[in-house]
Symmetry: C2
Amino acid sequence: MCETCGCGDTAVVPIEIHERLLSDNDRVAAHNRAHFAAEGLLAVNLMGSPGAGKTALLEATARAMAATRRLVAITGDLETDRDARRLRDAGIRAEAVTTGSACHLDARMIHHAVHHGAAGDADTLFIENVGNLVCPAIYDLGQAVTVVALSVTEGEDKPLKYPPMFRRADLVLLTKVDLLPALPDFDKDVLVQSLARVMPEPRLLDVSARTDAGIGEWVAFLEARRAAHVAA
Amino acid sequence: MCETCGCGDTAVVPIEIHERLLSDNDRVAAHNRAHFAAEGLLAVNLMGSPGAGKTALLEATARAMAATRRLVAITGDLETDRDARRLRDAGIRAEAVTTGSACHLDARMIHHAVHHGAAGDADTLFIENVGNLVCPAIYDLGQAVTVVALSVTEGEDKPLKYPPMFRRADLVLLTKVDLLPALPDFDKDVLVQSLARVMPEPRLLDVSARTDAGIGEWVAFLEARRAAHVAA
C-alpha cells in the first residue's frame, strides 16, 4: 500500500525535507555514476507509462544485443517480479526491486542492488523504472542515458501534459508502431511538435517489439552513447 | 517541475508527516462527500494511466448522457487545460486543475474548485485524475464512485503490479476494445484472473469511446450508483 505517498504536497510536507531528500538522492546518483563509469558499464534509465511496452522493448533488445553485449536489468514495480522473470526468460540477468509504496526508483535502491551484485560483470545495465510518467522524472539514478517509452496508443499530447519526463530525456522511443494501421487518427506530426516544445534536443525513434522494427537503430543509438560515455 | 515529489520516501520523509497529510486529506474528503450528498451530486473519481482513454471516455459519456443529466468535470494534469477544453467541446462544463508538481489530485484541490463554483447546478461530477496508476489511488476525493480505466494495450498483468489502484475500484473499464482485433495476444481471462486477486468485488466492463460499445452499460452502472447513493 502507498500509505506514505506525499508527492507534491508542498502545503503539508516541509519544503526543506523535500530538498534534503532530492539532494541526498543526487549525491547517491553521482556516486552510482562514478561507479558505472569506472566499471565501463552503460546504465540506461528506461521510463514510461504502465503498459508503454518497456519490458517488451527490453526483450527485443536482448534478442538483438545478447550475443555481443553482457546485459543485465533491474526492474522496478510496486509488487511482483514479473518483469524480471520475463527478462530472464529473454536471456538477460535481471533483478526485481519491489518498491511497495514508492512510485519510482531512487538512486539508493539502485546503489543497493548494484552493491549486492546485480550488475555482475555486465557492460550494459537497463533500469526499467516503475510505470509512471510523473515521479520517476525527477529522481536521477546515475544513468548515462535517459529514455522514455511512449506507445502509439497514449496520445500525441503527452509531452505537453507531462513535461518534466520528456524535458530530461535523451531519446523518446515511440513503441508499438505495429499498431498504427489500427489507429487512423494518430498524427505523428503533432507528437513531433509536442516534443519540440519540451525537449531541448528532440529525438524520436519508432520501434516495435513485436516486429523488431527500429530495434537496430535503437541498438546503434546505445552503441553511439557507449562510445561517447567511455570516451568521456 | 516536480521538485517537491517525495512519494514513498519513508526513509527521509518522517512518517508522522505522511500520516498527518493523509488524515488531513481524508478529513477534507469527508467534507466533500457530505457536501456532494447534500447537493444530490454524484461524484466519480476516474483514474488510469496516461493514455488510458479517460478523456475520450468522458466525451463518449457526454454524447450518451448530456441530454438527460447535468454534467460537469474537473480535470487534473501537471500542465495544460487540454482535457478540459476537449470536454467543453463535447458539451460538458469543465474546469482544469493544473497540479504543477503533484502527481495526483487531492481532496483540497477538489474542495477549492467546487467551492469556487466548478459544480454549478450539476447532478453528475466527473473528476478526471492525473494519469498515474500509483499515487492517485490513496487520495480519497470524497467521490461516491471510484473507477479505473485500463486500456487493452496496457497488459493483463497491471492489476497485480499496481494493486492499490485496483483494490479500491468499484469498476474497471476496459477501454479501447475496438483495438482488440489488432492485439491477437490479448487474453481477457488473464486480466479477469488478475483482477480477482486484488479486487474484493471484481467488476469489469468493456468499452470503446470510438464505437460507443459498452457506453450504454457504463451509463446504466452510473444510474444504478446514483439510485443507491441518493437512497443512502
